[in-house]
């Protein structure tokens, strides 16, 4: 589903946002974890064809999204700070995007129902609160139930109930053969739905694999708590 090979991203000032990442993700729910500035969002943007890698390849569902944007029909994304046009209604926007994904209006209604946004979908996007916008963004990402959904900080701006809702939705959609890549700081909650994890620090991969394998921190101790796993590998890397 996702294949990164020797991926590098170097900025003009000479610093690396991503340094030599080799990674393959087939299916499941991948937790993309790392401290601020670890390169999570940069990696997502390269995957989506928004940024060009300095070296290496990023393959999404067998294609390069930069040269073949049609592949994005099978991919949904929620950006960290999505800038939806404020002067259109949520429904107008989703129906517009549905055209490009070869979907029907019923798919728009389904996404709205899943995210519980039917109450305000006919209002202008500019009038949405941060939480409403986040839910709307996730509805946009899961529109038409694509093969892969990438969520960058999906639970930010959401209240605790909203967070639980989102995690439940991820779990439910995963059972319908939809894979997820989720980048977030709320690790304790994410651990409940993740099958895999990719831990980044300073643009490098410091750990990757199934949660069960990563959770065997030492011979005596095993955990599924993503926060503990993350902190363990981060400490190891710093030392």
């Amino acid at each position: 589903m996702v294949e990164l090979s020797e991926l590098h991203k170097k900025y003009r000032n000479g610093t690396y946002a991503i340094k030599n990442i080799d990674f393959i993700f087939d299916e499941g729910v991948l937790g993309l974890i790392g401290p601020n500035g670890a390169g999570k969002s940069t990696m997502i943007k390269i995957l989506m064809g928004l940024l060009r890698p300095s070296k290496g390849d990023a393959i999404l569902l067998g294609e390069n999204a930069f040269s073949n944007p049609a592949i994005l029909k099978k991919v949904g994304i929620l950006h960290e700070k999505p800038a939806y046009p404020p002067d259109v209604t949520g429904r107008e926007f989703l129906e517009f995007m549905a055209v490009f994904k070869d979907l029907e209006k019923s798919d728009v209604n389904e996404a709205c129902n899943i995210m519980k946004i039917t109450g305000y979908i006919d209002k202008k996007i500019g009038s949405y609160s941060a939480g409403m916008l986040q839910r709307f963004g996730i509805a946009d990402a899961i529109l038409g139930k694509p093969n892969l959904v990438i969520l960058d900080e999906p639970t930010s701006n959401l209240d605790p109930l909203g967070r639980i809702d989102v995690l439940n939705i991820i779990g439910a959609l995963h059972t319908e053969a939809i894979s997820f890549i989720v980048s977030t700081h709320i690790l304790s909650e994410l651990g409940k739905v993740c099958t895999d994890a990719l831990i980044l620090n300073e643009g490098r991969v410091i750990a990757e694999g199934k949660i069960g394998d990563l959770g065997r921190i030492n011979d005596d101790k095993s955990t599924c708590d993503l926060e503990m796993i993350f902190l363990h590998y981060l400490r190891e890397d710093i030392e």
Partner: protein, 262 residues
């Protein structure tokens, strides 16, 4: 193709919600109307033909006072169009690149070339619509003799249309280039206005540069060949499309092949 048309109509609906369009339409109307009253007054006093025949700038227009009127207002319209175009395109293109809306579109299955071309087409026609509407409405509303004259002379109408389209193409290409290069609303706005106005001021000394060339082109398209040398005429005709096409191509290449939407 259907999706591309849908994209254009989506962008058109969005740009038509832009309130500055109406504001500048009123500004252009005012600039045209003021000019119209001035010329009408002169003519009713019997001084307009004399004025036309003695003014060096318009000797070649003797007997074609309508041409004088429209070509004179062309410079006013050009300046207002610069402000309209730069503001409109800065807000529609640079702002969307800067705040991430373009990134959002590019994250969906819409090709970058379609995004660029649809925005370009919509900006171009919106910009062309403003002076065309202003000119036509004012011509038809202010003096009933003008439309009669225009209707008798198709060449005048076609000339007007060509010059307005050329002007819009030139302004759109410069403003889009500023937007794509700077990816910043303020820089795009001031860069675009600055470049276009400086060239406009310089055109006082070099008649083949816009905006003086716009008035000259209008007269030339109307059939008057005597206003300048062959070389100046050729440069005046070639300059706008050449600059516009080059800038548009560079902007397209940068947007679709090089731009990083971070």
């Amino acid at each position: 193709m259907n999706k591309f048309v849908k994209l254009i109509s989506w962008e058109a609906r969005r740009i038509l919600r832009f309130p500055l369009l109406e504001i500048f339409l009123v500004l252009i109307m005012l600039s045209v109307v003021t000019e119209m009253f001035y010329v009408s007054q002169r003519m009713s006093e019997g001084s307009a033909p004399l004025l036309l025949s003695t003014s060096r700038r318009i000797v070649y227009l003797y007997g074609k006072w309508i041409a004088y009127n429209v070509s004179h207002t062309m410079s006013n319209i050009f300046i207002v169009s610069i402000l309209t175009g730069s503001t409109l395109i800065g807000n529609f293109m640079a702002k969307e690149i800067e705040n991430g809306t373009t990134k959002l579109y590019a994250s969906h299955p819409i090709s970058r070339s379609h995004i660029f071309i649809s925005k370009y087409i919509v900006c171009f026609f919106s910009l062309a619509l403003v002076p065309l509407l202003a000119l036509l409405i004012s011509v038809f509303m202010i003096d009933p003799r003008f439309p009669l004259y225009l209707m008798q002379n198709e060449r005048e109408i076609i000339s007007l249309l060509i010059v307005v389209l050329l002007m819009s193409f030139y302004i759109t290409s410069v403003s889009v280039a500023c937007s794509v290069f700077s990816r910043n609303v303020a820089m795009s706005l001031f860069g675009s206005i600055g470049i276009l106005l400086v060239i406009n001021i310089v055109s006082g000394d070099y008649s083949y540069l816009p905006g003086r060339s716009l008035s000259s082109l209008y007269v030339l398209f109307c059939g008057n060949q005597s206003y300048s040398s062959q070389i100046e005429r050729t440069i005046a005709i070639v300059f706008l499309p050449l600059v516009g096409a080059n800038l548009s191509f560079i902007s397209y290449y940068l947007f679709t092949r090089r731009m990083e939407l971070s």
